[in-house]
């Protein structure tokens, strides 16, 4: 599915991602962890073409992502969510999901005339959005602005907006950050469901959450991959302990970082 080789991202003199290799198969949940500034979000941004890559290659399903413009990435099967749930407050919850279907739909200016093909497309898109909103228990909130929703619902909607296009690769940037304990299970179930249909690459700090669902964890520090393996495996890796989880006086992990 995802094949990234030697990905390097520079901001001026700073190397944010340094010759990183990453492979992700067709389905399953894969996590990116690492301390602040390790380059996790930059990597997600690079894979989704939000920021440009200095060198390296990124292929999704055989397509060279680097040849695409940022808005063409979603048609290649790559959808993403954002750390701070970048929703569209001008639109309703339902309409936010419909924007997720933008590249599948074709209506342009003729939308002003409500042509039969426009109506057909709108209807089909709304059916899909309704199904997803009902699945996530957000249907009752469809006409609200996302700005009026609690933060946890906003994060859920952000993931849903990426999911609705049925991507092959779903990139999630800290989907659980800021969620309450009560809100977490619903999003967890949603992501677990997505992991059975497509590849999910997510940034997540909670090892407790990852142990249940992630097949593999990639640990980054200073733009480089320092460890890779099962969640419980990397948790015992001495390099990971040293630079990320933190070691106590006796060389034991003090805390699972959160």
């Amino acid at each position: 599915m995802l094949e990234a080789r030697g990905v390097t991202v520079r901001f001026g003199g700073l190397v944010a991602v340094d010759r990183l290799d990453l492979e992700v198969p067709d389905t399953g949940i894969f996590a990116l962890v690492g301390p602040n500034g390790a380059g996790k979000t930059t990597l997600i941004n690079a894979l989704s073409r939000v920021c440009s890559i200095a060198s390296g290659s990124v292929r999704v399903n055989g397509t060279d992502v680097l040849e695409l413009l940022p808005h063409q990435v979603v048609s290649a099967g790559v959808a993403r969510s954002f750390q701070r749930a970048e929703l569209f407050p001008t639109l309703t919850v339902l309409e936010n999901l419909l924007v997720g279907l933008h590249s599948e739909m074709t209506t342009g200016l003729e939308g002003a005339l409500m042509t039969p093909s426009t109506r057909r497309q709108e209807k089909a898109a709304r059916v899909r959005a309704e199904r997803l909103l009902r699945e996530l228990n957000l249907w009752e909130l469809r006409d609200f602005s996302p700005a009026d929703l609690p933060y946890g619902h906003q994060k859920l909607l952000d993931v849903a907006r990426a999911l609705i296009s049925e991507p092959k690769l779903l990139l999630l940037d800290e989907p659980f950050a800021g969620l309450t304990e009560a809100e977490t299970p619903r999003l967890l179930a949603c992501i677990a469901g997505a992991g059975r249909r497509c590849a999910v690459l997510m940034i997540e700090h909670h090892f407790e959450l990852l142990e249940g669902i992630a097949e593999r964890v990639t640990v980054m520090n200073f733009g480089r991959k320092i460890a890779e393996g099962s969640p419980s495996g990397v948790r015992r890796d001495p390099e990971v302990l040293r630079c990320y989880l933190g070691t106590g006086r006796h060389g034991q992990a003090e805390t699972a970082a959160c």
């Binding site: 808005h71 979603v74 970048e86 001008t90 639109l91 924007v99 997720g100 342009g108 002003a112 709108e122």
Partner: protein, 327 residues
């Protein structure tokens, strides 16, 4: 409250207004013109709101597009006898072409470049109309023939009133439909978050250009209708003053709402006509109003009305909602 509970009575009142004015009988022609002119200005306000309120792009020279449309219609009518529909369409098209030349470079830059470019455009068009007298008649202006529409004579104040009213209704429906379909949602997405819009497959720069061209087309078409309504075009109708009036309509009405834009147009047009006897007074009042609205009611008229309506809907929702908000 369903939407038609407001719109249907408003349209009925607008439709019977000429009859009421006929019964009152006093200064009927004047009032018909004032209200017809308002209908045309409301189209411009809607077009500007599509750009500013919906897409988040500022135009400070929208009367430039109105002028391009009005002069196009006037010249085509005076020289070739083109009718109202053709004049409005040609006016809109030429304004759209002009906007393409401005919009393609301006929207590739970030920030308020479009605002600055349109300001310059608005000032320039006005001066070109004044100086290029072989084409525009200079400060003498241009007279149009008696307006016809698809072979019918619409040269009476009452008929032109209905032409302007129908044009406003058509413009409202077109923009309303557009905002409820894919492209209109993309406009809002670009305004709210360019990065998320792009991630959803919305090409940000070209979407801004499309919004700008749509807005200019509507403003130009409104200009074409205005030329036939007034029967005469002259540069002083399209100065920077009138760009500011359109800007005030959108800000006072509350950005991003068609009823807001029409409401803002009512307020601004009423002030303009009421204060017409003292030159500069209306601009002073409107300038003050823009300051007050931006400082104290950033959502404008729209937000004031919505706050009122929101109380009711929230109550209804909480009664019907099966999902607690904090679940």
């Amino acid at each position: 409250m369903p939407r038609y509970a407001v719109t249907v009575p408003v349209v009925i009142i607008a439709a019977v207004l000429p009859l009421v004015l006929q019964l009152i009988g006093e200064r009927q022609v004047y009032w018909l013109f004032v209200v017809s002119e308002f209908f045309v200005f409301a189209i411009v306000a809607i077009s500007l709101d599509l750009l500013m309120g919906r897409t988040g792009q500022i135009s400070l020279g929208h009367s430039g597009f109105v002028a391009v449309g009005a002069y196009t219609a006037a010249i085509l009518n005076a020289r070739f006898g083109v009718d109202l529909l053709g004049g409005a369409f040609a006016g809109g098209s030429l304004a759209a072409i002009a906007s393409l030349f401005l919009g393609v470079p301006a929207t590739r830059l970030r920030g308020h470049y479009l605002g600055i470019v349109t300001l310059g455009f608005g000032i320039a068009v006005d001066q070109i109309a004044l100086k290029w007298d072989a084409l525009t008649g200079g400060d003498q202006g241009l007279h149009l023939h008696r307006p016809t529409l698809l072979g019918l004579d619409v040269g009476t104040p009452v008929l032109m009133y209905y032409v302007a009213l129908i044009a406003l209704i058509v413009a409202t429906l077109l923009v309303w439909s557009l905002t409820r379909t894919r492209l209109g949602r993309a406009f809002a997405a670009v305004k709210d978050s360019e990065i998320a819009a792009a991630a959803m497959g919305v090409p940000v720069a070209s979407t801004k250009v499309v919004a700008f061209v749509c807005s200019a087309f509507l403003a130009g078409a409104a200009g074409g209708i205005y030329a036939f309504l007034a029967g005469f075009v002259a540069p002083e109708d399209f100065g920077i003053d009138s760009s500011l009036l359109f800007f005030a309509m959108v800000v006072i009405g509350g950005m991003g709402s068609i009823p807001g834009a029409i409401g803002g147009a009512i307020i601004v047009d009423a002030i303009k006509n009421a204060a017409a006897t003292v030159s500069g007074l209306s601009l002073a009042i409107l300038g003050g109003m823009i300051v007050l609205v931006v400082l104290f009611f950033p959502g404008g008229l729209k937000a004031l009305l919505r706050r009122h309506a929101a109380k009711r809907t929230t109550l209804d929702r909480t009664r019907n909602a099966t999902v607690p908000l904090d679940a």
